[in-house]
């Protein structure tokens, strides 16, 4: 099982040939009222559930190659790569926990958010029917599963966020966030006497270290962290999730935060938690941190932990009819 696996995925042409979008399908953005997002959303889910982004694969391979060959950490990362190849080849979910479906739609003026939400919900229901998603929507107290991934009150699931922007195109981004990694997310309020963490970057650093140590392997390490500094309880957590959409290996536009991200990533990888908490040098694949504005009395540090199987993706529908996936 320890033979070093090369992560060769199916070609873009093969992926396109399996698309649920009819060949040559072109969105007409001049007529936003009749634009139907159901199929593009379904295709986005088909890809996100079975195909890991290249930057995540690269980071996992880099992590594996930094572990001692034949060690448990090496073998575990190697199995992760093996799993990535299988899921991609079979077009089946990378992980049985296909997560909470979080969607961000950015659109020009004129798109009906109500209609778009219905279409996104229809796509999620169809993806569930096709076994691309596990039914992950249960009533809080009874635990009763709706079976469809639909929250009947349109509140919790799928979680859809809308933003109107100035661009003429429509972009849908999706994240499939598993329950295990969601459970190890944490929100701190500074100062924190237990950690000895004050209201400064050193205090933020302590919160991050604490959260990762508490998570151990339970969030399916190596994890990817989104860290929002500031905001209120809600906006801060929301931002911390959105940050995970950023590609690994890209720089933070704020040079101060960029240096901080690099430093804390290196520090976390000396904790020895390793893949799945088995021990090793690869505890996190990356940290994305961003500063927000806050109320003078509140200082929140919100940390969202994403598992190694960071399933995310986006589709952009352009005015010239072009459809692109990222």
């Amino acid at each position: 099982m320890s033979e070093c696996v090369i992560p060769t995925l199916t070609s873009n042409e093969v992926v396109a040939s399996k698309s649920v979008l009819p060949a040559g399908w072109k969105p007409n953005l001049k007529d936003l009222k009749s634009l139907d997002l159901t199929l593009p959303m379904l295709e986005l889910l088909r890809r996100s559930t079975s195909r890991l982004p290249q930057d995540v694969i690269d980071a996992l391979v880099k992590g594996r190659d930094a572990e001692e060959e034949g060690s448990r950490a090496f073998n575990t990362l190697n199995d992760m790569v093996r799993n990535i190849i299988l899921a991609d080849g079979h077009v089946t979910p990378l992980c049985q926990d296909t997560g909470t479906i979080i969607v961000w739609v950015r659109h020009p003026y004129g798109l009906s958010q109500r209609a778009a939400k219905q279409q996104i919900r229809a796509a999620v229901a169809e993806a569930t029917k096709r076994s691309w998603l596990r039914p992950n929507c249960v009533e809080a107290l009874s635990g009763k599963n709706t079976g469809t991934n639909m929250d009947p009150f349109h509140e919790g699931h799928p979680a859809v966020h809308f933003e109107e922007w100035e661009k003429p195109e429509v972009e849908i981004a999706v994240m499939q966030k598993g329950g295990g990694c969601e459970n190890v997310g944490a929100q701190y309020r500074l100062p924190d006497a237990t950690l000895g963490a004050g209201r400064d970057i050193k205090g933020v650093r302590k919160c991050i270290i604490d959260a990762v140590v508490k998570a151990q392997g339970q969030g399916c390490s190596p994890g990817i962290l989104g860290v929002a500094i500031g905001g209120d309880r809600v906006s801060s957590y929301e931002k911390s999730k959105e940050l995970i959409l950023r590609k690994l290996g890209t720089s933070n536009p704020d040079p101060k935060m960029d240096a901080f991200e690099k430093e804390i990533t290196a520090d976390l990888n000396t904790l020895g938690i390793g893949p799945m908490g088995y021990g090793g040098n690869t505890t996190v694949l990356g940290v994305m941190a961003e500063e927000m504005y806050r109320h003078p009395a509140s200082f929140y540090v919100s940390i969202s932990y994403m598992c190694w199987s960071s399933r995310r993706g986006s589709i952009t529908l352009k005015t010239n009819g072009e459809v692109s996936f990222d």
């Binding site: 799993n83 992980c95 596990r134 039914p135 635990g143 329950g179 021990g279």
Partner: protein
Amino acid sequence: MIRLTTPITEDQIRQLKVGDEVLLNGRVVLSRDMGHKYMKEQKPEWLKPILENMVIYHCGPVVKKHEDGHYSFVAAGPTTSIREEPYQADVIETYKVRGVIGKGGMGKKTSEGLQKTGAVYLHATGGAGSLLAERCKRVVDVKMLEEFGSPEAFWIIEVEDFPLVVTMDSHGGSLHEIVAQQSQERAKALMG
């Protein structure tokens, strides 16, 4: 690499040590949050012959129902085990379970249960849903599907060479405890 086939004897389990790599074969019973609460609180008799000397797998699979009515697993990796900490030791004792498969490890109470009854905690690679579903060869039966829903039901399956690592043994050993301690020490040093 140690090959084990269910049902497993206490003697076989007592020989296993933290760090041992195991390939599991035979029947395995899936159960997670709702199942564990139900087993601890209601102690249903009907599960006894199904679970004795068997292995429980903490997993909520993605299941495909075929046109002829049979089921197969599409993705089936482990879920986080620590949520079953309040229930696991009792379940192991009541049903004489010999092994629990999951991820992330479990706590002190479960470790004591493993020692008392003679059982082990077997760690599977989290997130490896496709890889592990390939080792789930056949769905034999499913119980409480209607009541619990698909991710929570008692799926009874047959596995072949299911790759696992013993991370908690029946002698009090726990890899999770060792890694946790070492990382906490390192964290202290990092925090200054």
